[in-house]
Symmetry: C2
Subunit: 366 residues, 2 copies
Amino acid sequence: MDKLQQLLTLDLLPGIGCYRLRQKLKGLSPFELFNCTELELVALGFNAPQRAIIQAPYQSVITSVTTWLNGAGNRRVVSFFDSEYPPILKQISSPPLLLFCQGNVELLTRPQLAIVGSRAPTITARETAKLLAHDLAFSGLTITSGLATGIDSCAHIGAISAQGTTIAVLGSGLKNIYPRSNVDLAANISQTGLLVSEFWPDVLPKAPNFPRRNRIVSGLSLGVVVVEAAQRSGSLITARLAAEQNREVFAVPGSVNNPKVQGCHKLINQGAKLVATAADILEELPIDSFDVAAKEHKIHSRLSPQSLLPFDIILDSVGFETTSIDQVVERSKMSIEIVLQQLLTLELAGLIVLGSGGYIRISGGG
Amino acid sequence: MDKLQQLLTLDLLPGIGCYRLRQKLKGLSPFELFNCTELELVALGFNAPQRAIIQAPYQSVITSVTTWLNGAGNRRVVSFFDSEYPPILKQISSPPLLLFCQGNVELLTRPQLAIVGSRAPTITARETAKLLAHDLAFSGLTITSGLATGIDSCAHIGAISAQGTTIAVLGSGLKNIYPRSNVDLAANISQTGLLVSEFWPDVLPKAPNFPRRNRIVSGLSLGVVVVEAAQRSGSLITARLAAEQNREVFAVPGSVNNPKVQGCHKLINQGAKLVATAADILEELPIDSFDVAAKEHKIHSRLSPQSLLPFDIILDSVGFETTSIDQVVERSKMSIEIVLQQLLTLELAGLIVLGSGGYIRISGGG
């Protein structure tokens, strides 16, 4: 049994997480456990079900992960004991033992900022989230969020539009991207960014796993920006976890007539910094931690986003007023599949935005 | 020379305000000064020009005030030494010696809240200011502001629409209402509310006097609410003065895309409480100070505002979409003067609102 299989086995131990596992190890490496006798495992405090698994791992379950690892793209399992595991994430009260990763694993240890918010935001908040993510990514920060619809998606898209880097932390296994409408976005993120989950690849989306996921979003990040959140929003959980983890908490204000922003206003009155621009956020962060990354990134970013886009026909089919997807299909004479794929690419490049009822063009194009 | 003439004389002393006058009095009443000999005045520290005025008042100037006092409405000069002078205003570093008043002088000592902001606010901010003023006035607070265009006017109008009370502190003399567009509003305020100025009635509007006026707006109030203020707004001066005077400072947030709200956001990050509703404000104020006033007021407020309004023809000429004043004139077949006057009355009653390009009806009417 190799080290990966041993780590996967430890992740399956019932009633014990990463924190208590490390307590029981008492200085041993996790791999030495597998050379221990029954009596030694008892002495370390492992109970009978735990000892049974250590001594006879579920080989078939573990094989499912190794099969996944052999799939396309850069797939990795990063453990708490690996150098790629982010030190900042080790500081939280319940760090995951394993991170299932697809994409650029190096991003894990780069300075990150989380942008989270409503799953059904206003068009203004969508634009604000994208702009903040764009500008912060351009400044060298990696933008971390949860791949949900709404603000999370806008955060990822904004970072990509700046040719920056972004991490999506999933509440399901990486074989089960959720929501399904973000499958294309996830594929895009995995190319230059990173998909991360503490759940094994086969795990289906389940409601209780999503709040758990939030502690990783904040735990990976120097701070959390909440863009739009109602009074009872999951984003407020992320903000609370961030505060408990001693991360900076930022909130974007909005009109007092917009009920979707009440959660942000509450956070501000509880001490979150009110922010309107990327500069408001950057001035609160330890700049030394990412200025080198920023310099490297800015050289890379000189490429015009338009130069990457051969989709003139689709772009020309989107008006400066809201244009439905049906209209784009009709005007471009292209299939719905190609239209949807290319509209996403155009949105990622910051040339069009998704409003209610369709897309709006915001740039003259290439 | 009567006591009023003596107080007016003291207000004319060069190089000496209320604070230093009281220091020099050393326990004497201000009126006793006029019985002092030259040597006694020297001993109290009055210089030659000051002594000359005490001993030979400018009778003609004083007569201009007494003439004004004999005009229509309740006109009064309230001095620092009168029981009507608000104790809360005595606490500020440079309280005015005299307050020229027109209207209900009793309001001076009632609990007040100031609402200030941009002279050119967005329609959203206008509505917010009116609604806050309405709800706070209905709760028994007197709404104090500066009679400027924009948020100040909305604050006064909102209070009146709740049949509450409002105080306008002017930066010019009460014979010179400024801006002229607010002459009708000032007349309305003087009927159930109060117009106040530290300037003599003949003083013309002069730019330096308006920031000075702001210290009285905040000095009269338990707290100051800033509804919309750009980065360099006079309202931020009022907020700073309020903080220096240990008054509560409140600020209403807005969209990060609205530059007119940047000053409010700055105040919030400096410690002002973010507020969206009257309840957010009331919970910070010492409720005992105005609950009796509230109870008295609520009984009075049971009258429907519509019952006071015979202007059905004008109201019916205003649509639920923006309606220009020309359209109202055409539809109502009434003169422009009557239309303007009655539109103001309808606005004060909360039945219509002024948007860009005209009025919008917001109520079914009586």
